[in-house]
């Protein structure tokens, strides 16, 4: 069966985040001086074929670590659920 995967890729804590720092620096000028601790990342959605949720999760985790994220500087959060619309 098919499973829908959502993978969030974000920087490990302690790794500098130039994109977030630049966005945060510009916020006061836009009237958002009350916004703090901004981080940036990437997000992927795809479908994967697998017998059950556990094996789907394993495939997704493998793909996330091998390709979607660079484990040297990034970590991932996964979400796997039955794909809708068959």
């Amino acid at each position: 069966m098919r499973w829908e995967a959502r993978v969030e890729v974000r920087r490990r804590s302690g790794i500098s985040d130039p994109e977030a720092a630049t966005i945060e620096r510009s916020l006061p000028a836009l009237g958002y001086g009350d916004v703090h601790e901004l981080t940036s990342g990437r997000w992927f959605r795809f479908e994967v074929e697998a017998e059950d949720e556990a094996s789907a999760r394993q495939r997704v985790a493998g793909l996330a670590d091998r390709l979607l994220a660079n484990p040297v500087i990034e970590e991932t959060a996964l979400d796997v659920s039955p794909a809708g619309g068959g």
């Binding site: 302690g14 790794i15 500098s16 130039p18 994109e19 630049t22 390709l67 979607l68 660079n70 040297v72 500087i73």
Partner: protein, 223 residues
């Protein structure tokens, strides 16, 4: 016999002819190696040149690892063969794990195309062997993702192993510890963001890159 140096070409690589020209002028026998080949010709050294391998999609260098040529490239490196990654080639070497750390967006989120001064800080690599420590070189950089990052233990290991081979004099991109180039433990795999091939003749504005390329030729001749 002239040292045989392979120059790897991915779709999107754009510095391969500059590298071949610079190496050939110094007396090497440089040949292009297509990423889709699953073996290398007999070689004494390898260069992974700059550009945008596979369009730099996802992350610079991330997709290069899946090219068939990377398997023999990795074997060549792990057997002690001299391998130098320039700019995008440096990013490729970190992505495949031949060099530690990663290269991320420049500190000020700007693409930098400029001349920069780097200092040779270790002679213990195939790219810097024989060059006195402290030698300053004027070399061009041309990158968006040249901001070298690694964790504390990795940085400590790089320092302890004398593996930081080039440092910026005036850090242009936010790289940790001013790192412009590093080597692996054996000193045979080196990655650097500046382009020595673009500073290989006074007609190009600087010939400061020649000492680095000559060191590589020396390592290739000895290989």
């Amino acid at each position: 016999m002239a040292p045989r140096i392979g120059v790897v070409v991915f779709p999107g690589t754009n510095c391969e002819h500059d590298v071949v020209g610079a190496l050939d002028r110094l007396g090497a026998d440089a040949t292009l190696c297509w990423h889709g080949d699953d073996q290398l010709p007999p070689l004494d050294a390898l260069v992974i040149p700059g550009g945008f391998a596979h369009g730099d999609y996802l992350r610079p260098g991330a997709l290069a690892r899946f090219s068939p040529i990377m398997d023999p490239v990795e074997k060549f490196a792990r057997a002690g063969g001299p391998v130098v990654g320039i700019c995008n080639g440096f990013q490729v070497l970190t992505e495949i794990g031949l060099l530690p750390g990663a290269l991320q967006k420049n500190r000020d989120l700007e693409f930098i195309c400029d001349d920069t001064t780097v200092a040779v800080t270790s002679s213990r690599s195939v790219l810097t062997a024989g060059i006195p420590i402290g030698t300053e070189l004027r070399l061009p950089i041309n990158h968006f993702d040249g901001n070298y990052v690694c964790d504390g233990p990795t940085l400590a290991a790089l320092r302890a192993g004398d593996r930081i081979v080039l440092r910026y004099v005036g850090n242009p991109n936010g790289s940790i510890d001013d790192i412009a180039g590093i080597a692996n433990e054996g000193g045979n795999v080196v990655g650097l963001m500046p382009h020595p091939e673009r500073a290989s003749d006074v007609l190009l504005g600087s010939a400061d890159g020649v000492v680095l390329l000559e060191a590589l030729l020396g390592a290739a001749a000895a290989a």
